[in-house]
C-alpha cells in the first residue's frame, strides 16, 4: 500500500482580522499543523505567529513556501489580490484555501480555475457558513421534507457602518473597499448569497438587482436583489440601516424555516390550523414552545462547549484537508464557485446600469484600477441606455 500522509502542513497568507479566525480554528484540528504565516508587513506576521504559536513568520511568499513546504496555504488577503496570489500558489505546487469573495469578477475566477486544472492542485473557497451547525440543522429539516420542496429563500444581512471600519469606508472615497467593482457589497454579500444558491441551483437565474445610497452616504450602501430560477426564487436584502444580523428564511409549500445565524435558532413559519381567534392563541403558543426548544438546545450545546462563532469554518477546513489527504474533490464544487461569482457580476452590473451613466460619471476614480472599472461600466451602461 502506498504511504499516504496522515497530517497536513498549513500556512497562511495575509494576517488581517479574518486570519485570526482561521488560525484559531486550524489549531483545533488535530491532524493539521500550522507551519508559517506571511504578510507584507513583518509586524503583522509576527503578531499572528506570536499569538497563535506558529513557528515561522515571513514577508515573502516564495521564501515561506521554500522554507516550510506547506501542503495547503490559506489566502486571507483583500479580494482584489486573490486571483494573482491563488494562481501563484497553485503554480508553486500547493493546495489553496481562499477566503470569500473568490475573485473580483468571472474572468479572474476562470483564470484561477484554469490553473487548478493545469496544476492538478485543489482549491477550496470560504463558503464556511454552509457548514455552521444551525445551517446544517436547517438543511436537514429541509431534506427531511418538513417544509416540502423549497420554493423561495430569503437572506438578510444587516451591516451598520457605525463602527471604526464603517467610518473609514464612509469617510474616504478612495478606500479600497469602494474601489471594488461591487463596492461595499463585493466584500460582504457572498455569505447571504450562497445561502440562497444552495437551494436555487439554476446556472443562470434571472436577476433583478438594485442598490442605492442611504442618508448622506455618497456611495451605494443598500442593496436588494431578486433571483428567479425555474422552481426556486430568492431575495437578498443588504442594509446598513438595520442592526447587525444574519437571517435566512427558507420557504416551501408546507411552511417556512427562519434561521437566525447569530442567535443559532430556528423558528417555523406556518399558518395556524385553528379557526379565527383561536389561531391567535395557537401561533404564540407555538412560538413559546419553539423558544423553549431553542433554549434547551443551545443550553445543551453551551454545556458541551459547542457554541463557536466560526464552527462552520472549522468543519469546512477539516473536510477540505481530508479531501486533500484522500485525493477526493474539495467540499465546495468548482462550478459553484464560478456560479456565485457570475451571479455577483450580474447583480453588480444590473445595479450599475440602474445607477445610470450620469451618476456613475460623478463617482470618484482616483486610482487607475477604479478608473479602469469605471470606464468599463460606463461603456456597459451607455450601451444599455442607448438600447432602451
Amino acid at each position: 500500500m502506498p504511504d499516504t500522509p496522515s497530517r497536513i502542513r498549513v500556512a497562511l497568507l495575509g494576517c488581517g482580522q479574518i486570519a485570526d479566525a482561521h488560525l484559531q480554528e486550524i489549531r483545533k484540528i488535530d491532524f493539521a499543523e500550522l507551519v508559517a504565516v506571511c504578510d507584507v508587513h513583518q509586524d503583522l506576521a509576527d503578531q499572528a505567529a506570536a499569538r497563535f504559536e506558529v513557528p515561522h513568520a515571513f514577508t515573502d511568499m516564495q521564501r515561506m513556501l521554500s522554507a516550510t513546504s506547506p501542503d495547503v496555504v490559506h489566502v486571507t488577503t483583500p479580494a482584489h489580490t486573490h486571483c494573482s496570489l491563488a494562481t501563484q500558489l497553485l503554480e508553486s505546487g500547493v493546495h489553496v484555501y481562499v477566503e470569500k469573495p473568490f475573485t473580483v469578477d468571472v474572468p479572474e475566477a476562470e483564470r484561477v480555475l484554469l490553473v487548478v486544472k493545469k496544476t492538478g492542485k485543489s482549491l477550496c473557497l470560504g463558503h464556511d457558513q454552509l457548514f455552521d451547525p444551525i445551517w446544517l440543522r436547517c438543511r436537514k429539516l429541509v431534506d427531511d421534507g418538513v417544509i416540502g420542496e423549497v420554493s423561495h429563500v430569503e437572506s438578510v444581512l444587516g451591516y451598520p457602518l457605525s463602527g471604526q471600519f464603517g467610518r473609514q469606508v464612509t469617510g474616504d472615497p478612495n478606500h479600497w473597499v469602494r474601489q471594488l467593482p461591487g463596492g461595499l457589497f463585493q466584500n460582504t454579500i457572498s455569505h447571504p448569497l450562497y445561502r440562497i444558491t444552495e437551494f436555487l441551483t439554476d446556472i443562470q437565474p434571472r436577476v433583478d438587482a438594485h442598490w442605492y445610497a442611504s442618508g448622506n452616504a455618497t456611495f451605494p450602501t443598500e442593496m436588494v436583489a431578486h433571483l428567479r430560477g425555474k422552481t426556486v426564487t430568492g431575495s437578498l436584502f443588504f442594509s446598513t440601516r438595520i442592526q447587525h444580523q444574519r437571517i435566512s428564511r427558507v420557504y416551501g409549500p408546507r411552511g417556512g424555516l427562519e434561521v437566525d445565524h447569530d442567535g443559532q435558532t430556528i423558528r417555523f413559519i406556518r399558518q395556524s390550523t385553528l379557526p379565527g381567534a383561536f389561531g391567535k392563541l395557537e401561533i404564540p403558543w407555538r412560538h413559546w414552545r419553539e423558544g423553549a426548544r431553542n433554549l434547551r438546545q443551545n443550553l445543551w450545546r453551551f454545556l458541551k462547549s459547542d457554541i463557536h462563532y466560526f464552527a462552520g469554518m472549522r468543519t469546512l477546513f477539516e473536510l477540505y484537508y481530508r479531501s486533500i489527504l484522500d485525493g477526493t474533490p474539495p467540499p465546495i464544487a468548482y462550478e459553484e464557485m464560478l456560479r456565485v461569482t457570475r451571479l455577483m457580476d450580474v447583480m453588480f452590473r444590473h445595479c450599475r446600469v440602474r445607477t445610470g451613466a450620469k451618476r456613475l460619471a460623478a463617482l470618484s476614480s482616483a486610482s487607475p484600477r477604479m478608473a479602469d472599472w469605471k470606464a468599463n461600466c460606463m461603456a456597459e451602461v451607455e450601451e444599455e441606455e442607448s438600447v432602451s
Binding site: G16, D20, A50, R51, Q164, G171
Partner: protein, 335 residues
C-alpha cells in the same frame, strides 16, 4: 516654529494642538481622509485656527508624510488605534510608526515625540506596593497582554528600532489613563464594566490617571524641553485616588455607580478559573481574562511623575479634584 501633529482630531490631539497654538507655534495636522475636523476646529477656536494647516493622508503613505514634515522641527505622533482586533491595531499604530520615524529622519526633523502608554510596563512581575517609574522594565511578553497594550508595546519597540537605525532624536511619553470631559472617570483600572455593572477588582490600587489638558501639556513639553533626547517620561497626575476612593468620589458627586466587589485574594484564582474554562471549551468564551493580564492591570503600585516634573519642567496645573469634576458626565459643555 512649525510642528507636525498626528492624531490631531483625537481626544488628546485636539488639546495639544490648542496648547501649541496658544504658544504661537504653527501647527500642521496630519489627518486621514476620513477624519472629521469639526471638533478640532471648534476646540482650537477660529482665531487660533489661522495658524493651523491640515494635510490629509494615510499614515502609511510615507512619501506624503515626509513631504508634510518638511520644515517642521518637531513631530508629535499622537495617532493610534484604541480598539479593535490586534491586526487592526497593529495597522493603525505599529506599522505606520516605522514609516513616520523614517520619514521624519529624512525630512530633517529635530525631535520625534511618541505618545505611548503607561500600560507598557511589565507590572505583572513587580512586587505589590513597589514604585513604578521610568526605570521599571517594559513587559517582556507583549503578546500576552490585551490587544491595545500589545500594540502600544510593539509601537514603542518599532520606534526604538528605527531610532537606532536613523539616529533620529526620540522622546517617549507614557500617559496613564486619560480622563476628561466626555470620557468619564471609570476605566478598566477600576474593574470590569459588565453592562451597567462595575465589577470592582480589589480597590486599594492607585489609579494612574491624567487629566487630558495636563497630558497635553506634558506632551508639548516633551517636544520643547532641552536635553531629553532618548528619554522616556511617565505622565500622571498628582494626588491619585485608589479605585475604592474614586467610586466614593463618584457617589459623593451624586453619581451612583452600581458596583460589586471582587476582593483582591480572589482575583487571581478567578482569572485562572476563567482561563482554564476558555481553554477547556476551546474558546466558547473569549480569552480576555488571564492571570497574566489581571496581575498586570490591578496590582497596587506607587506611581511617580517626578521625572517629568524635573526634566520637562511640567506641572499638572489642574488638580485631580478639579479634573475629576470636569470629567463627570454631568459637567456642562466641553471645558
Amino acid at each position: 516654529m512649525s510642528v507636525l501633529v498626528t492624531g490631531a482630531t483625537g481626544f488628546l490631539g485636539q488639546r495639544l494642538v490648542r496648547l501649541l497654538r496658544e504658544d504661537g507655534v504653527q501647527v500642521r495636522c496630519l489627518v486621514r481622509p476620513s477624519s472629521d475636523l469639526q471638533s478640532l476646529r471648534q476646540s482650537v477656536g477660529e482665531v487660533l485656527w489661522n495658524g493651523v494647516d491640515v494635510v490629509s493622508t494615510e499614515l502609511m503613505d510615507s512619501d506624503r508624510c515626509r513631504d508634510a514634515m518638511m520644515g517642521c522641527s518637531i513631530v508629535y505622533h499622537v495617532a493610534a488605534g484604541l480598539s479593535g482586533s490586534t491586526s487592526t491595531l497593529f495597522l493603525s499604530s505599529v506599522v505606520p510608526t516605522r514609516g513616520l520615524l523614517r520619514a521624519a529622519s529624512e525630512a530633517g526633523v529635530q525631535r520625534f515625540v511618541l505618545v505611548s502608554s503607561l500600560g507598557v510596563y511589565g507590572t505583572q512581575a513587580m512586587q505589590s506596593g513597589s514604585i513604578l517609574d521610568e526605570r521599571s522594565p517594559v513587559d517582556p511578553h507583549p503578546h500576552l497582554r490585551d490587544p491595545y497594550t500589545y500594540s502600544k508595546l510593539m509601537q514603542e519597540r518599532a520606534a526604538w528600532e528605527v531610532q537606532q537605525e536613523t539616529g533620529l532624536p526620540l522622546v517617549i511619553v507614557r500617559p496613564g489613563v486619560i480622563i476628561g470631559p466626555g470620557r468619564g472617570v471609570l476605566s478598566a483600572r477600576v474593574g470590569l464594566q459588565l453592562g451597567p455593572l462595575m465589577v470592582r477588582m480589589g480597590g486599594t490600587q492607585h489609579l494612574p490617571y491624567i487629566y487630558v489638558d495636563n497630558c497635553a501639556a506634558a506632551v508639548r513639553q516633551a517636544g520643547l524641553a532641552e536635553g531629553v533626547d532618548g528619554e522616556v517620561f511617565n505622565a500622571i497626575d498628582d494626588d491619585l485616588p485608589t479605585a475604592k476612593e474614586l467610586l466614593r468620589m463618584c457617589r459623593r458627586a451624586g453619581h451612583r455607580v452600581k458596583s460589586v466587589w471582587i476582593p483582591r485574594p480572589l482575583i487571581q484564582p478567578m482569572a485562572a478559573t476563567y482561563d482554564w474554562y476558555h481553554r477547556w471549551s476551546r474558546g466558547q468564551l473569549p480569552g480576555v481574562l488571564t492571570p497574566y493580564r489581571t496581575a498586570s492591570i490591578w496590582k497596587p503600585l506607587k506611581y511617580t511623575n517626578q521625572k517629568a516634573k524635573s526634566q520637562l519642567g511640567w506641572q499638572p496645573s489642574i488638580s485631580f479634584d478639579e479634573a475629576f469634576h470636569r470629567s463627570l458626565p454631568s459637567h456642562g459643555a466641553d471645558a
